[in-house]
C-alpha cells in the first residue's frame, strides 16, 4: 500500500536523523572535552557533565544504530551487532565498578576529568551509574528488536521504555531544578544532554516496532490512538509547569509543602478538566465527522440500492421483452454453444420448422440430432469466427424426419461468463423454394408459349403476304381476262382468252393446294413422331433422287455417327432431306463437281443436322429475308418454283425446330436444322 510505504520512508528518515543526532550530541561532548568548552560538556555551568566515555559510547551507539537501521547486507548487520555487544560489555564494566566498588582504570583513560574533581566527584571521569545502566539497557534493547521471537521483541520494547523512563526522570529533575546534591543522585547525576539524548533515542527506537509496548498506544490510527497522541504531550507539559510552579512556591517558602501538594492536585484537576474538554471537543468533532461520513455512506448506499432496483427492473423488463421476442418470433431462434453446438434454448418457431419437441432439442448436440451436417457447421462457424456474425446464408437443415428444410440463416456470436455462444435466426424458405421452382417452370412454359406465339404470328404475317401476292394476283388476272372476254366479239380471240383463263385457274388451284398443304403442316404440330435413323431416311431419299445424282456426278458424304437418330415425323424428315439435297444438286456450280455433306450431331442436348454444298450460293444480303419465302426464286432455273425451302421451313418450325442458312455466292451454302429447339 502506498501510504505504508510513505510512512515507512518517513520513519526511516526519522531513524537516520536520530542516529545522526546521537552522533552529533557525542561530537559536541567530545569537542567540549578536547577544546575544554564547558557549555558543550554540561549545557549549564555547575551541572553534571557528559563524560568523555559517555560521548564515546554515544558515538558508538549512534553509529551502531545507523548501521542497524540501514544494514541490509550481512556484514553491516554483523558490524552493528558487534558494536552493540561491545557497548554492552563496556557499560557493564563501568557499572560494575560502582556496584563492586573497584576501579577498572577506564574512567580517565583518555582525558582527565578536572571538572569532576573540582565538583568533588567520588570517581572523576566515570559515567554516572544511571548512564552506564542506560547504555547497557539500550544496547540490549536494540539487539533484542531484531530477534525473530515476538516475546523477545516485546521484552526489548519494554527495556527501551525503561530507558525512556530513566532518562525522562533525569530530564524532569533538571527541568524542575531539583538540586543534584539532594536525594535521588542515582538519577540526577546524569548530565542533561546525556539524558536528553537517551530520551530521544529510546523514544525513536521504540518506533521500530510501532505496535509493541507503549508506542502502540500513540501510533495507531484509531480514535483512542489519536486522543492519546493529543492528550499525552499536553498532560506532560501541564504537569511539568504545575510541578515547577508548586516547587518554586514551596522552595521559597511561600507556602507549606503540604499546601503545595494540595494546590498542585487542585490545579491538576482544573487543568485536567480543560484538557478533557479539549479532548471532548476533539472527540465530538470526530464523532460528528464520523456521523456525517456515515450519513453520506448511508445516502450513497440508498442511492446505490435505488440504482440497483432500477437496473434490476430494467433488466427484468428487457428480459421479459427478450422472452417475448424469442417465443413469439416467426423466425426460428436457437441459442447454442459455439464449440460443441449444444442447444441451450430454442423457440417454438424453430421447433415447428424442425418438427421437434423442446426437450428433444435442449441439451442435445446439433450434430447428434443430424439437424446440420458437420461440414456445413464447420463452414458456418469459420464464417462467424471471422467477423462475429453471419447474415442471410442459405443452409439446408434436416428436420426430425430427416426431410430437408431450406433455410436462411443469420448468426451472432456472444460471450457469457467466458463461454462463447451462438444465437441463430432461421427462416424456413422451403415453401418459397418450391414456389420459386414452380415459378421457374411456369416461366419456362410461358417462354415456350411466347415462342410459339411469335412463330405463329410470323406464320400469319407470311400467310398475309402469300394471300396478297400469290392468291390476289391470279384472281386479278382472271378479272381482267373476264373483262377482255366480255368486250371481245371475236371468237378466236375469245378462245385465246379462255385458254389463258384456264392457265390462271390451274395456277390458282396449285397455289391454293400448296397453301392448304402449308396450313395443314402448320396446324398439325402434334404430327406423329417416330424414332428415325438418318441413314435409313437418307437412303430412301437418294433412291428417289438417283437420276439427278447420277447425272450431276455429285459426291455425297454422310456422317450420322454422332447423332444417328431423331424422334420425328417420317414424311417431314424425308421432305427436308429431299428438298435440301435436290436443291444442292439443282443449284450446283457448272464449274465444280457438286459435293454435298450431311452431318448430324448433338449440340447443347439438341439434335443438329448440317447440309453443306459447294454450289452457286445465294447473296443473302439481297435475298436473306426471302430465302424461305413462298414462290421466291433466286436462280434462273427452269424447275425453280420457290416452294422447297418454304415447305422445309414450315415443317421444321411446325415441329418446334429451327432452320438457318449461311451462303456465299459461288462458294456454296450451309443449311443448319435444329430439330427440337423448342421441345425436349
Amino acid at each position: 500500500m502506498p501510504i505504508n510505504i510513505v510512512r515507512k520512508v518517513k520513519s526511516e528518515y526519522l531513524f537516520l536523523l536520530t542516529g545522526f543526532l546521537v552522533m552529533l550530541s557525542a561530537t559536541i561532548g567530545l569537542l567540549g572535552w578536547t577544546l575544554d568548552i564547558d557549555v558543550f560538556k554540561s549545557v549549564l555551568p555547575n551541572y553534571p557533565t557528559m563524560k568523555f566515555n559517555t560521548a564515546i559510547c554515544f558515538m558508538i551507539l549512534g553509529f551502531a544504530f545507523l548501521l542497524f537501521i540501514k544494514g541490509k547486507s550481512k556484514a553491516v548487520k554483523i558490524g552493528s551487532y558487534t558494536l552493540l555487544i561491545a557497548l554492552c560489555i563496556f557499560s557493564a564494566l563501568s557499572l560494575s565498578q560502582d556496584i563492586f566498588n573497584f576501579s577498572a582504570g577506564i574512567d580517565q583513560w583518555a582525558v582527565k576529568d578536572l571538572d569532576g574533581a573540582r565538583q568533588h566527584d567520588a570517581f572523576p571521569g566515570r559515567m554516572a551509574p544511571t548512564t552506564s545502566f542506560c547504555f547497557f539497557l539500550i544496547a540490549i534493547a536494540i539487539l533484542g528488536l531484531r530477534f525473530k521471537s515476538r516475546s523477545i521483541n516485546i521484552l526489548a520494547q519494554y527495556i527501551m521504555h525503561l530507558v525512556s523512563l530513566l532518562s525522562f526522570v533525569s530530564v524532569t529533575c533538571f527541568l524542575l531544578s531539583v538540586p543534584n546534591t539532594e536525594a535521588f543522585t542515582f538519577f540526577t547525576s546524569m548530565a542533561v544532554n546525556t539524558s536528553a539524548t537517551f530520551l530521544i533515542l529510546s523514544i525513536v527506537a521504540a518506533n521500530v516496532h510501532k505496535d509493541l509496548g507503549v508506542t502502540g498506544i500513540f501510533t495507531g490510527e484509531k480514535i483512542g490512538n489519536i486522543i492519546a497522541r493529543k492528550l499525552f504531550p499536553r498532560l506532560i507539559i501541564v504537569l511539568l509547569i504545575f510541578g515547577y510552579v508548586s516547587m518554586l512556591l514551596q522552595r521559597h517558602h511561600f507556602i507549606s509543602p503540604e499546601f503545595a501538594e494540595v494546590i498542585s492536585i487542585v490545579l491538576f484537576i482544573l487543568a485536567g478538566i480543560f484538557l478533557f474538554r479539549g479532548v471532548l471537543r476533539n472527540m465530538n468533532s470526530l464523532d460528528l465527522k464520523k456521523n456525517v461520513a456515515e450519513n453520506e455512506i448511508r445516502l450513497l448506499n440508498k442511492n446505490l440500492e435505488e440504482t440497483i432496483l432500477e437496473r434490476t427492473s430494467e433488466l427484468k423488463h428487457s428480459n421479459d421483452l427478450f422472452i417475448k421476442i424469442f417465443n413469439s418470433n416467426p423466425a426460428g431462434i436457437a441459442i447454442s454453444t459455439l464449440d460443441t453446438g449444444e442447444y441451450r434454448n430454442v423457440n417454438p418457431a424453430l421447433l415447428k420448422i424442425l418438427n421437434y419437441k423442446k426437450e428433444e432439442m435442449i441439451g442435445h448436440l446439433s450434430s447428434k440430432l443430424m439437424i446440420i451436417d458437420s461440414e456445413t457447421r464447420r463452414r458456418v462457424i469459420s464464417l462467424v469466427d471471422e467477423d462475429g456474425q453471419l447474415t442471410n446464408t442459405h443452409i439446408t437443415l434436416k428436420d426430425k424426419d430427416g426431410i430437408d428444410r431450406h433455410c436462411l440463416l443469420a448468426m451472432e456470436r456472444f460471450e457469457e461468463k467466458g463461454q462463447y455462444y451462438m444465437i441463430s435466426f432461421i427462416n424456413d424458405i422451403t415453401d418459397r423454394r418450391i414456389a420459386e421452382a414452380k415459378l421457374a417452370t411456369t416461366y419456362q412454359e410461358a417462354e415456350r408459349l411466347a415462342d410459339n406465339l411469335t412463330r405463329r404470328n410470323k406464320q400469319l404475317l407470311s400467310f398475309a403476304h402469300i394471300t396478297s401476292h400469290n392468291l390476289r394476283s391470279p384472281v386479278s388476272n382472271l378479272n381482267m381476262l373476264l373483262l377482255f372476254y366480255k368486250e371481245s366479239n371475236n371468237a378466236s380471240d375469245q378462245l385465246q382468252l379462255i385458254e389463258k383463263m384456264d392457265t390462271v385457274v390451274n395456277h390458282l388451284t396449285t397455289t391454293l393446294d400448296e397453301l392448304l398443304e402449308t396450313i395443314s403442316i402448320q396446324e398439325n404440330t402434334e404430327k406423329e413422331r417416330q424414332e428415325l435413323f438418318f441413314e435409313q431416311v437418307f437412303k430412301s431419299v437418294t433412291d428417289i433422287l438417283i437420276g439427278e445424282l447420277l447425272e450431276s456426278k455429285a459426291i455425297v458424304k454422310i456422317d450420322f455417327l454422332k447423332a444417328p437418330n431423331v424422334f420425328y415425323p417420317k414424311v417431314y424428315l424425308e421432305s427436308i432431306l429431299l428438298n435440301l439435297v435436290s436443291n444442292a444438286i439443282k443449284y450446283r456450280s457448272p464449274h465444280r463437281i457438286p459435293e454435298i455433306v450431311l452431318v448430324s450431331e448433338i449440340v447443347n442436348g439438341k439434335t443438329l443436322l448440317t447440309v453443306t454444298d459447294n454450289g452457286l450460293g445465294i447473296d443473302l444480303n439481297m435475298h436473306g429475308k426471302n430465302l424461305f419465302g413462298m414462290r421466291k426464286t433466286f436462280h434462273r432455273h427452269p424447275n425453280a418454283k420457290g416452294l422447297g425451302l418454304f415447305i422445309v421451313k414450315t415443317q421444321v418450325e411446325a415441329m418446334g425446330g429451327e432452320i438457318t442458312a449461311k451462303s456465299e455466292v459461288d462458294k456454296g451454302t450451309i443449311f443448319k436444322i435444329i430439330f427440337n429447339k423448342h421441345t425436349l
Binding site: N470, R472, S476
Partner: protein, 141 residues
C-alpha cells in the same frame, strides 16, 4: 395529237404481260414498249441504254413480287445510277398486293411516283400517262 410515250413493264406474270400488251396495242398508248420478266433483266437493259434517251422508257411499271430480283431490290439498284441516266424515269409500283405494309414501304421510296393495285385497267394507264403529260393538272388536284 397526243405525244406517245415509251412504256416499260417489269413483271414475271405471263398472263399480266399478255393483258398489258393487249391494252397498250389496242388503244395505241405507247410509242415504244418493253416487257421484262424480272428486275435483273430490266436493270441490265437500263444500264446498257442509260446514255441513249430514245431507248429509255418514260414510265416504268414495276411489279413487287418477282423471282431473282424483286421490285424493291430493283429500286435499290436503280437508285445507284439514276442520276447518270440521259433522261428522268418515272416509276409506278404495280402489285396485286393491297397489303398496307407494301403500300407503306412504297411511300418511303422517293423514286416511286405512285402505287397501282392489280388488275391494271385501261383507265389506270390513261390516268398515269395524262399525269405525266400534264403534271400541272395533277398538281392542281
Amino acid at each position: 395529237m397526243k405525244k406517245l410515250l415509251n412504256l416499260c413493264f417489269i413483271d414475271d406474270d405471263v398472263i399480266f404481260q399478255f393483258m398489258v400488251k393487249r391494252i397498250v396495242t389496242c388503244h395505241n398508248l405507247a410509242n415504244k414498249m418493253w416487257l421484262f420478266n424480272d428486275g435483273e433483266v430490266a436493270l441490265k437493259y437500263l444500264l446498257e441504254q442509260q446514255q441513249n434517251p430514245l431507248e429509255i422508257p418514260d414510265i416504268i411499271f414495276l411489279d413487287i413480287n418477282m423471282p431473282i430480283m424483286d421490285g424493291w431490290q430493283f429500286l435499290a439498284e436503280f437508285k445507284k445510277f439514276k442520276a447518270s441516266m440521259a433522261k428522268p424515269v418515272t416509276i409506278y409500283m404495280v402489285s396485286s398486293s393491297n397489303d398496307s405494309r407494301d403500300l407503306g414501304q412504297a411511300k418511303e421510296i422517293e423514286e416511286i411516283s405512285g402505287y397501282l393495285v392489280k388488275p391494271l385497267k385501261l383507265e389506270h394507264l390513261e390516268q398515269v400517262i395524262n399525269d405525266f403529260l400534264e403534271p400541272q393538272v395533277n398538281r392542281n388536284c
